[in-house]
Amino acid sequence: MDTDRTAARRITAAWLAACALTVTSAVVATVTDSAEHEASTLVSILVLGLGAAKAWLILDEFMEIRVAPTWLRAAARGWLAVLVVGIVVLYLQ
């Protein structure tokens, strides 16, 4: 495991990144409220991607999936990937 100081820094970095992603996705979603159909579909895909990135960050940094045994890492990441792809596919129908 990395030393105490770098661990703390990694957590803060992951936290700030997640907050930034939240705010940007909220702003982007509200800005394109009035836009016509094509733009909002594209934006929705972007928003989903940002959400997935946040989830990946939490899994990797906070839940320490990065250093977990392979089966657990595969299970967690596999779940996230399958779910997000499923949502996008269902959204695009």
Partner: protein, 199 residues
């Protein structure tokens, strides 16, 4: 003896401890299970959204995005506090762990307060559970998530109690509590994206 299946059998059936995994193995069964269940909820939501995208988009407009975004920040902050608490617990710094967990619990309580106010606003404007399909999903999904947040606060209480008792298992307990709380955070992040932002 230690093929994967045998270790799996050992932990799952004979309840032996497997320390290579962060936190308590049993908690991971709960977390992964819950993620799969919530995943099913999202898929069902998307299928029903597919049938009536216009209704869902219209009703979604009535949601209060400000409180939801604020709530996401609150939960993310609480989550990173818990992550710090895990590292402090590994250093054996009980005082820091107690402080961080209490702060995280406080933010969790704030999340509950914000969520209930958001509901009250929605209900006061006439959007209740049976009013239409979107709000049925909205109240049920955020309701079940709120139930998980309350369960998380209860777990923090148990962790604080165990630390005050100085029980030998407190590092595993803090890790298990952290794993659970992060799972609640992951679910909220996805819920926020799908319920609030998906236009």
């Amino acid at each position: 003896m230690n093929t994967l299946w045998d270790r799996f059998e050992g932990v799952m059936v004979r309840g032996e401890e497997d320390d290579r995994i962060a936190g308590d193995f049993n908690m991971w069964v709960f977390v992964l299970g819950d993620l799969v269940i919530f995943g099913a909820y999202f898929v069902v939501f998307m299928v029903h959204r597919f049938h009536e995208p216009e209704l869902f988009r219209a009703s979604q407009g009535h949601l209060n995005l400000l409180i939801a975004t604020l709530n996401t920040i609150v939960l993310l902050t609480s989550s990173q506090l818990v992550a710090r608490a895990v590292h402090a617990a590994r250093q054996g710094d009980d005082a820091a762990v107690r402080r961080l967990i209490t702060q995280a619990g406080g933010l969790g309580a704030l999340f509950v307060v914000l969520k209930v106010t958001e509901w009250v606003i929605e209900i006061s404007r006439g959007y209740t559970l049976p009013s239409d399909e979107f709000f049925m999903f909205y109240f049920c999904l955020t309701g079940v998530h709120l139930l998980h947040v309350l369960l998380g606060l209860l777990i923090f209480g148990v962790v604080l109690h165990e630390i005050r008792q100085g029980s030998g298992r407190r590092v595993t307990l803090v890790e298990a509590g952290a794993t659970y709380w992060h799972m609640v955070d992951v679910i909220w992040v996805l819920l926020f994206a799908v319920l609030y932002l998906l236009r």
